[in-house]
């Protein structure tokens, strides 16, 4: 056996083909997959932004609807990515057994899970872009200044994708993800500066908001969308990078035990 026949596809192909698999399966039922997460921020924007906006007027120096829209740029990215890498990953792992098939092809556990995170990031990017387009069409946000905000959506997707994978490595059954969504992600939505600034939180809980993962993409997206770049966003970027890499490594270590007998 000559050693030249022992060639396997390069890293980008291995990770990329995992990503491609998800894209194909997802786009097979595009309407039912993409419509609900698309409508969610829209309803929120109309219901809360327009309704409540009449009473609030301005927040943090901008009209309330603008404040809210700049926060919503990343929340759908968070929810879809977390959903994809919790319920989605769990079903692929335990029910459909698709990973058993995929790991028979020349990819490693690490390739597979990095592919998952990249796919979640891609969904984050797309949904962030959708919110931006809607907000721009309604004249709420200026697309010229906010054009880079979907990159924050990508980073948000990656971070919460990795977060979902870690959750997947912990749960014993699929219903336990309800704790993640109802017990953590949904409450966090209200305490991360999406609907009101964290500076309005009681002083004792304010440091807590600084630890919550959603605070950082929200502040970052808003800084870009409203063109208010401040030094603190360096901390936000660093937080997101470190947490994403850390959670991804943790997920790989923990899920390897489930994927390799």
């Amino acid at each position: 056996m000559s050693s030249s026949s022992l060639r396997y596809p390069p890293l980008w192909n291995r990770v990329g083909s995992v990503w491609y698999r998800h894209l194909r399966v997802y786009s097979q039922n595009l309407i039912s997959n993409a419509l609900p997460p698309f409508l969610e921020p829209l309803i929120f924007l109309v219901g809360i932004g327009v309704g409540l906006g009449q009473f609030i007027g301005r927040m943090d120096g901008v009209p309330y609807i603008e404040y809210l829209a700049s926060g919503l740029l990343v929340t759908t990215a968070m929810f879809t990515a977390a959903f994809e890498c919790s319920f989605g990953t769990y079903i692929r792992l335990e029910f459909d057994k698709v990973y058993d098939g995929m790991l028979a092809a020349p990819i490693t556990v690490t390739n597979l899970l990095v592919g998952e995170v990249l796919w979640a990031a891609t969904k984050g990017l797309v949904f962030s872009l959708t919110v931006l387009i809607i907000a721009s069409v309604f004249g709420i946000l200026n697309p010229a200044t906010a054009a880079l905000a979907p990159i924050v959506g990508f980073m948000t997707g990656a971070m919460f994708g990795a977060f979902g994978l870690v959750a997947t490595s912990i749960v014993n059954n699929i219903s336990q993800f309800n704790f993640l969504f109802s017990g953590f992600l949904s409450p966090m939505f209200f305490f991360s500066g999406v609907v009101f600034p964290i500076s309005r939180l009681p002083a004792v809980v304010r440091p807590l908001a600084e630890v919550l993962p959603l605070t950082h993409p929200v502040r970052l997206a808003r800084a870009i969308a409203l063109d208010r770049l401040e030094p603190i966003i360096v901390w936000d970027v660093a937080y997101m990078l470190i947490v994403t890499v850390g959670l991804t490594i943790l997920a790989i270590v923990r899920l390897r035990r489930r994927l390799v007998d």
Binding site: S5, Y8, P9, V98, A104, A105, P106, D261
Partner: protein
């Protein structure tokens, strides 16, 4: 690769596990063999695997030589699947310093990618994308092997023809029968033109026609393309039909191994009388006289073995035709003899 020439009378050639190819017969009638030195595709020594308290594989040793088919035969829970998984990195063996595993000269613990790039694996459980159609499923996997565009399409069409799935090209996997899904999984394992096929229970639960079709396809692959095949089964007929070498496993251990026909001729009498009603024993064994036959069996049935058909016929002389069967012994009998249990018995 190194070769060793042996010039010898066939009868004194070392048999062992080594494959040999006859390359000629000299004028003096001496057979000339090229033997033994073709490197095995798979070589496993002292393989152990435990899942907490369960000892799934215990000190397993085996080799698989190029262009041959080796079948792992054994009841559920014997450790067949676990063994297959350890060959391509899907399961991690216990850390035993004596353990050696090489597949195409590569240790899967060190480099699973090189192995998976030239092997095709069809795992035991179905793991297709149910929402996608047949071609889409294959296309996704073609991408894993970096096959795209026309080359991928051509290979996919070729495999659909080979596995007789062309008509189902655009059918959703959800709509396929069990046999079609299994054929699709095998087709998927063939995308990269593998030199080694690892098939975990490729025909379990399929009807006899489909099973035969799959056997024929596997046989073709081996004979025309020189693919090496490692498969697991709990159908003795499958092992007997396809395999050059059978490894019978039970409770994590290799019980016995060999070329199917020799395995039987070396280890068990040629014929067997099977009593379907154990209460007839007394009438068969006139006063404990077994007529030189050997007795075996369990609560449900009694078996008498003999090299000599007439002895069995004499034993059965006094019972009704429908209460017994006389037949050639098979691997099932061998398994029963070595383990005291039946192949399809649930553990």
């Amino acid at each position: 690769m190194c070769f060793k020439l042996a010039v010898a009378c066939p009868s004194i050639l070392p048999e062992a596990n080594h494959r040999r190819e006859k390359i000629g017969v000299s004028s003096s009638g001496v057979h000339v063999y090229l033997y033994g030195m073709q490197n095995p595709v798979i070589s496993v020594e002292h393989l152990f695997k435990s899942y907490r308290k369960v000892r799934a594989v215990l000190d397993l040793n085996f080799e698989v030589f190029p262009r041959t088919c080796v079948a792992f035969l054994g009841p559920n829970g014997a450790g067949k699947t676990t063994t297959m998984k350890m060959l391509y990195g899907k399961a991690a063996p216990d850390g035993n310093p004596k353990t050696k595993i090489t597949v195409f000269g590569t240790d899967p613990r060190r480099d699973e990618l090189s192995i998976k790039a030239i092997a095709g694996v069809a795992p035991q459980e179905e793991n297709l994308d149910l929402e996608l159609n047949v071609v889409q499923n294959l296309r996704i996997f073609a991408n894993f092997y970096r096959m795209r565009g026309r080359a991928a399409t051509a290979r996919i069409e070729e495999l659909l023809r080979f596995m007789e799935l062309s008509e189902k090209r655009t059918a959703r996997v959800r709509e396929l029968s069990g046999g079609m899904k299994r054929r699709l999984i095998i087709a998927r394992a063939l995308l990269n033109r593998p030199r080694l096929l690892i098939l975990d229970e490729p025909t379990t639960g399929l009807d006899p026609q489909v099973r035969r079709l799959i056997w024929e396809k596997l046989h073709n692959l081996m004979k025309t393309e020189g693919v090496t095949i490692l498969l697991t089964t709990h159908y003795m007929e499958e092992a007997y039909q396809l395999a050059d070498n059978i490894v019978i496993m039970d409770k994590g251990r290799k019980v016995i191994e060999g070329e199917p026909r020799r395995l039987l001729s070396d280890n068990i009498e040629k014929y067997v009388l099977e009593l379907l009603d154990p209460s007839l024993q007394a009438r068969v064994e006139h006063n404990g006289n077994l007529n030189g036959c050997r007795k075996d069996g369990d609560a449900q049935r009694v078996l008498y073995y003999s090299e000599d058909l007439q002895s069995l016929e004499r034993l059965s002389a006094e019972i009704k035709q429908r209460d017994y069967i006389i037949r050639e012994s098979n691997l099932e009998d061998l398994f029963l003899q070595t383990t005291g249990r039946r192949l399809n018995e649930l553990q």
